[in-house]
Every structure is written in C-alpha cells, then in structure tokens.
C-alpha cells in the first residue's frame, strides 16, 4: 500500500503547476470553458506540450504519457487553479473516436483535437430527454447519401463557440429506445443550425451560458457517423463513466473551501466580531474540513481504480459526494456571513465579491445536472451492490 506520489508523478505535477503559474492570467482563469481567444491560446500551449494527446498513438498526433496518472494530475491541477480543462474533447470525443471509428475519421479528427483546433459541444439533451437520455426524439433521417436533421436540443453548453457538435440523434424510431440512437460529428457552421442563448442563474453578465440549438434540415454526411449505426446510446454511456471522472475533479471543492477558510480567518466586523473566534463556526468548519478530506480520498480511490479500468462506480461515488459537499459548503459560508451572505457581486461589503452566492445558487444544479446525485447513487446501488434497477420490472430473488 502506497499513497505517495512517485518522483515521476511529483515531477509532472510540478511541471503542470509551473505551466499554470506562468500562463494562467486573470483573463484565462475563472472558468473551465475554452470560449475566448485567451483561453484558446492557453490550451494551445498545453497542446504544444503534447498534454492533450497523452497516451494516444503517435500516428494520430498523440504523445507518450510521461506517467500513468498524467491525465488525472493535469485535470486536478487545472481544476484546482480554476483554469480551462480539456476533459470533454479528449476524454469523451477522442476516446470514442479512437475506440469506435474508422481509420479515416481517426486521421481526420484526432490530430485536430490534440492540437486544440476547434472546440466541441456535446449535443445530447432534449426537452423530453434529460436524465432519461435514451428518450431523445430528434431524428436523423437517412436520405441516401446523407442524413438530415430537423429538431432541437436543449442545454447545449459550448455550442456558441464550438466548431463541432458531437450529436446524438434517433436513427431508428421503431427500435427499443436505447437501440435506435446514433452519434454523429456535425459541423457547427452547417446551414440550418441556429442558437438561442439560455443563461444559468448567477450574477448578471458573468453567468454561465448554455444554449438551445435549433436544427432545420441540417445535412450530415454519412462519413460523419460515429462507429456503428444505432449504437450511440452505448457510446454515450461509456463516455459518461469517463466524463464523471475526467471532466470535473473534486479539486474545485477543495479550492472553494480554501477560499472560505481564508475569508473566515480574516473577516472582522464591528464590535471586535471575528467569526473565527465563534465556537459554533469553528465546529462547523471542522466538520466541513473533514468532509472535504473524505472527498479527496474518494477521488484517490477513483484514480487508483482508473489505472486498471474505467472507474464507473468510483466516479459515481465522487459525483454524489462532491455535489453534496459542494452545496453544503456554499450554505455554510453564507450562514457564517449572516446578512453579508446575500450581498452579491458589486456590493462593497459582499464577501469575496459574492462568489459564494453564485456557488450557492448553482449548487442545486450540480446536484441534478450531468447525471445527478440520485442517479449516481443508483449507479452505486446497481453496479456495486448488485441491486436491481428501481425503475425496471420487479426482479424477484432466486430462492
């Protein structure tokens, strides 16, 4: 049993930290999205170092992994620093292309991904298909030499700056719902695509933007089918296991808790009121510090599993635990701040300029989005504990 990072791991981590220290300007920091020229440039520099294609074959533009945990170390350090992360493009798209696509598609898209040439939108969700992603309806109709799509997608993050849509569409309306979905690569500038912005709750002006995507007779060439027809649902599920693990680490919560503790340590109000001296607050912070530590441990479990397999159960544990701790942490901070807790960005006396108000408002979203806490727990119940699908037909135990 060895919890220590190897010298090679520490060296790579130092390298990433150095890179971040040198390149993470204020313009680049603050979001995981690669949506401005400054952020694209930041990721370009990572691409130059070969950090986007680690572990992929060199003929597709990949690079050797310096160490087994390189990908994870990179994600955590970026997340801890509040920098743009590359898990979606590399983790979901590149992995699926490598495993499922033709040699031509690999040669076309993998090098671009590893060079950061264009961002990707994951275009799955529909009004009728959220958690129940298999319920999607938007059809891709086989027109002989191409597919044609008319319909709409909802909550498509990144669509307003993406070059490609990694889009799931119904290709067989008569098959059982999970068996009639396919994935395509659709150019974001294809004729017939239009967007309506949707804004998440948060400080006006800096809110996280997502999009409704309207598709009006959009043509997708047949060569842009990912893998096999009607296997899209399975590709999505595989990628989702990976996504829970690779896109968002627990590090963002560690960073947030650090900010909260720093604030509490330094806050002082009239009447010599130093929150840090309040025994009730001290206890509550101690409790939260413990939960944060446990979160980093669950992540560590996940990393170690990831060295051998896709850590589906561990990633679900991380998701469930992380989102819960994240929400409770924002609550705690606002409670400590009292009436200053509800002052928002721009208020002179808003602690941390209202950052925790935004975190609080989106905390519930983190609990329900991208397969929420309850979905994650049902994954744990089914895959780890061997319990039958609660939404399926009754499965009586063998006598």
């Amino acid at each position: 049993m060895d919890f220590d990072w190897s010298p090679e791991e520490l060296a790579f981590r130092d390298e990433v930290r150095e890179f971040i220290a040198e390149n993470l300007t204020e313009e680049v920091a603050g979001t995981i999205f690669i949506d401005t020229p400054a952020r694209v440039a930041f990721v370009d520099k990572m691409a130059e170092r070969g950090w986007l294609g680690m572990g992929f074959p060199e003929k597709y533009g990949g690079s050797k992994k310096p160490i087994p945990l390189a990908q994870f170390i990179l994600t955590v350090e970026l997340d801890l620093a509040g920098a743009p992360i590359v898990g979606k493009n590399v983790g979901v798209v590149a992995n699926t292309i490598l495993n499922e696509c033709s040699e031509e598609m690999k040669m076309e898209f993998l090098p671009k991904i590893f060079k950061n040439e264009g961002q990707w939108a994951l275009t799955y969700t529909e009004a009728c298909a959220g958690t129940d992603i298999g319920a999607m309806q938007c059809p891709a109709v086989d027109m002989g030499d191409h597919f044609e799509v008319t319909g709409s997608k909802l909550f498509i993050t990144s669509a307003h700056f993406a070059k490609y849509h990694w889009i799931a569409l119904r290709t067989d309306p008569d098959a059982p719902k999970h068996k009639g979905i396919s994935i395509f690569i659709m150019d974001a500038d294809s004729p017939g695509i239009s967007l309506t912005p949707m804004h998440c709750i948060g400080t006006t002006g800096t809110t996280h933007r997502t999009n409704e995507v309207f598709l009006d007779h959009v043509k997708i060439p047949k060569s842009r089918l990912v893998g096999e027809l009607n296997k899209g649902f399975y590709y999505m599920m595989q990628a989702l296991d990976y996504e829970r693990f690779a896109i968002l680490s627990f590090a963002s919560r560690v960073r947030r808790f650090g900010k909260i503790v720093d604030w509490v340590k330094n806050a002082e109000y009239n009447g010599n009121d130093r929150p840090i001296e309040d025994p009730v607050i001290r206890r509550k912070l101690a409790r939260m510090a413990t939960r944060v530590e446990v979160g980093t441990m669950l992540e560590r479990l996940c990393i170690c599993a990831a060295m051998e397999r896709v850590p589906a159960v561990e990633a679900a544990m991380n998701k469930a635990y992380g989102a819960t701790v994240g929400a409770d942490m924002a609550e705690l901070a606002l409670d400590i701040m009292g009436p200053f807790g509800y002052l928002w960005a721009g208020a002179e006396h808003a602690p941390l300029n209202g950052y925790l108000v935004d975190e609080h408002l989106m905390a519930g979203h983190a609990r329900v989005a991208a397969a929420g806490v309850d979905t994650a727990k049902s994954i744990v119940a089914r895959r780890l504990l061997g319990l039958p699908n609660a939404l399926g037909k009754p499965v009586l135990p063998a006598k």
Binding site: A129, T131, L154, N270, G338, A347, G364, L391
Partner: protein, 363 residues
C-alpha cells in the same frame, strides 16, 4: 379551538390572491428587479385602496386596526408571488413603531400618510456587523426610521434612540447594494445629519422598549411572507413532478421525488401553523418571545430548503434565469438570513428555554 380562517379572512386571502395573480407575475417581478424604484407607485396605491396599508394602523389614524393574524394572511399572499414592495418596512416596521412609540402628533402626522400610500419608510438598523442584537449598534446620533446610539457604548441595548429622518436630509449618502434577491437594499451613510427634535420617536435612549416588539411582529409577518414563497414553490414543483415524464413515468411517481416533496410539505404545514399560532397569541397580548424566535427560525430554514429542493425537482431547467424557479431560489437563502439570522433567533430560543426561571408556555 378552530384554526380555520374566518369568513372575512377567507375574503382577504382570496382577494389578495386574485390581485397578485393578475398583477404580480414573474415578468413583473423581473421588471421591478431591474427598475430604479423596485416597485410601482401604481401598485402601491392599489394596495392602499384595498386597505392593505392600513390594516395594522389604529382606527383614529385611518387604519383598520386588524391583528397580526390578518397581516400574516396577507403576507402569505404577497409571498406567493414574491410581491416587490416596501410593505414590511413601511407598514409593519415603521407603522408599528410610530403607533407604539410615537407622540399623538407624530401618529397623526405620519400614520394616515402610510395608510394612504403617500409615505414610504425604510428601516435603517443593520450596521457593519453580522449580528442583529441592538447592543451592536454604534452609529452615533447627535435620524427613513433610523436607530442610533445617543448614549452608552456597544454592546448595550439601552442608549438607543429611534429617529424619523427625512431621506433627503443633507449628509445622507445612499448607495444601492446588489443582493441575491435583486431587491432594493441601500447602504446609507450618515454624516452630520441634523434631525429636528420633534422627529425623535419615543423616549431618548429608550428605543428598545418599543422596537423589540416591533421587530417581533415584523418577524412573524415576514414568516408569513416566506410561508407564501414556500407554498408557491412547492405547488409549482409538485405540478412539474406530475407532468414531467422520464423513464416512461411522471417523475412524481418515483419514491425519491415523493420523499422530497412530502418532506417539504410537512415542514411547510408545520411552519405555517406555528406562524399563525404565534400571531394569534401575539394578538391576545401574551408574551410570545420564544414563539416568535422559533417561528422565524423555522420559517427561515423552511424557505431556504423549499426553494432549494423545489428547484432541484425541475432538474437543469430550474436553474435557467428565464424560469420563475430562479426568482424563488434567489430569495430563499436571502430570506433565511434576513431580519436576524438563525444565530440571533436561536440565542433567544436558548435563553428562553434555559436561562429564564419560568419559561413561557402557551398551550
């Protein structure tokens, strides 16, 4: 014992609900958030015409002299549609303070104007402190409704005086300060502001003797308001759960969703009943200090939980600015922390439970 509303109270409630549904839509609330004033003079005038601004005021000042229970009934309806208006500060806090502490001349000067909708007052109490206790007030007064220290030093609840200060007085600097609810909070600086002696409300140094009761009443009415917020959020979440289909069934048919919604509604019913119970006993003139504290503490947690969990029932869509859920979500936590946070009220509960020789017990 019969805790149903009387016929008049049912009329009050139904009238208020209809008015709110017609006039106070989600769209209206959004407009008010962006507006300069934060409410419309038109609606304020309509509220005056319906007698709402004079509900609490004494009859000889043009009011209806109704009780706290009636204020709670109205406040719940305002809360359901998160009505943007200075009702609490003007009618409940300032109006009540003037009625209790004011001289006859002050009552006759100010109260009819409140009743008629001609005078709006803000409550300038909180200073640069996380605490709500009167003892922490340091603002020196040598007068919106301002509470300031005229003698002694913090922490002491004695030595505080209430002033009615004209908001246009020289030396007052007001700055709107953004809040989660995007309601209209201001930071108000006082620098050498001169206040005529006849604008001192109540005895010099003796504010707390009347203000404590005013804050108690305001806390109960506010708990009614937040109860309305909860009621509406819960109704909408339940309706969504009935309609939204995932995995071939309405999500409201899933055990977990049912558990969330049932847990919330139990709290909401409990909080409402406690609010009315406290209001009823307050109207009877009984000592209700621990009950007020429990009412506010529980209503605060309930509005925070209900808006939070309620929004989660909607999934991702619940977090889009365009959705009314976000209007409620942005108010839940703020309302929990406003008008004395949990620590203020819980300290009172503990004190009444533990330190008081013969604890107040209403049955």
């Amino acid at each position: 014992m019969d805790i149903k509303l009387s016929e008049e109270q049912v009329q009050l409630k139904e009238g208020a609900r209809k008015f709110m549904e017609d006039e106070c839509t989600g769209e209206f609330v959004r407009e008010m958030e962006k507006s300069e004033l934060g409410y419309t003079k038109k609606m304020w005038q309509q509220m005056a015409e319906m007698g709402w601004l004079g509900m609490a005021a004494p009859e000889d000042c043009g009011g209806l002299e109704l009780g706290t229970v009636d204020l709670v009934i109205l406040a719940k309806e305002l809360g359901r549609n998160i009505c943007p208006s200075p009702f609490l500060s003007t009618v409940v806090i300032a109006g009540e303070a003037i009625a209790r502490a004011g001289s006859d001349a002050q009552r006759q000067e100010f109260l009819p104007k409140i009743v008629e909708g001609e005078l709006v007052l803000a409550f300038a109490y909180q200073e640069y402190t996380r605490k709500f206790e009167p003892g922490v007030i340091e603002l020196q007064a040598k007068e919106d409704l301002v509470v300031a220290r005229t003698s002694g030093e913090a922490p002491a609840s004695s030595g505080l005086t209430m002033f009615l200060v004209d908001a246009k007085s020289e030396g007052i600097a007001s700055k709107r300060t953004p809040t989660m609810a995007r309601d209209h909070h201001y930071e108000v600086g006082f620098s050498g502001v001169r206040v005529p002696k006849d604008r001192v409300l109540g005895g010099v140094g003796d504010a707390w003797s009347s203000l404590e009761g005013v804050i108690e009443k305001a806390a109960v009415v506010f708990s009614g308001y937040t109860g309305g917020v909860c009621e509406m959020m819960h109704e909408r979440a339940t309706e969504y759960a009935q309609q939204r289909v995932q995995f071939d069934r309405p999500i409201g048919q899933m055990q977990l969703i049912q558990s969330y919604l049932a847990t919330l509604i139990i709290d909401i019913y409990g909080s409402d009943t406690l609010t009315f119970f406290t209001a009823f006993n307050m109207d009877k003139g009984r000592r209700v200090r621990p009950y007020v504290a429990k009412t506010k503490a529980f209503a605060a947690d309930t509005v925070n939980n209900t808006t939070n969990v309620g929004a989660q029932i909607f999934g991702g869509i619940g977090y889009m600015e365009e959705q009314d859920t976000t209007l409620y979500l942005r108010r839940g936590k703020q309302y929990q922390l406003a008008l004395g946070g949990l620590d203020y009220w819980e300290d009172i509960i503990a004190e009444e439970l533990i330190d008081v020789e013969n604890p107040t017990l209403l049955t």
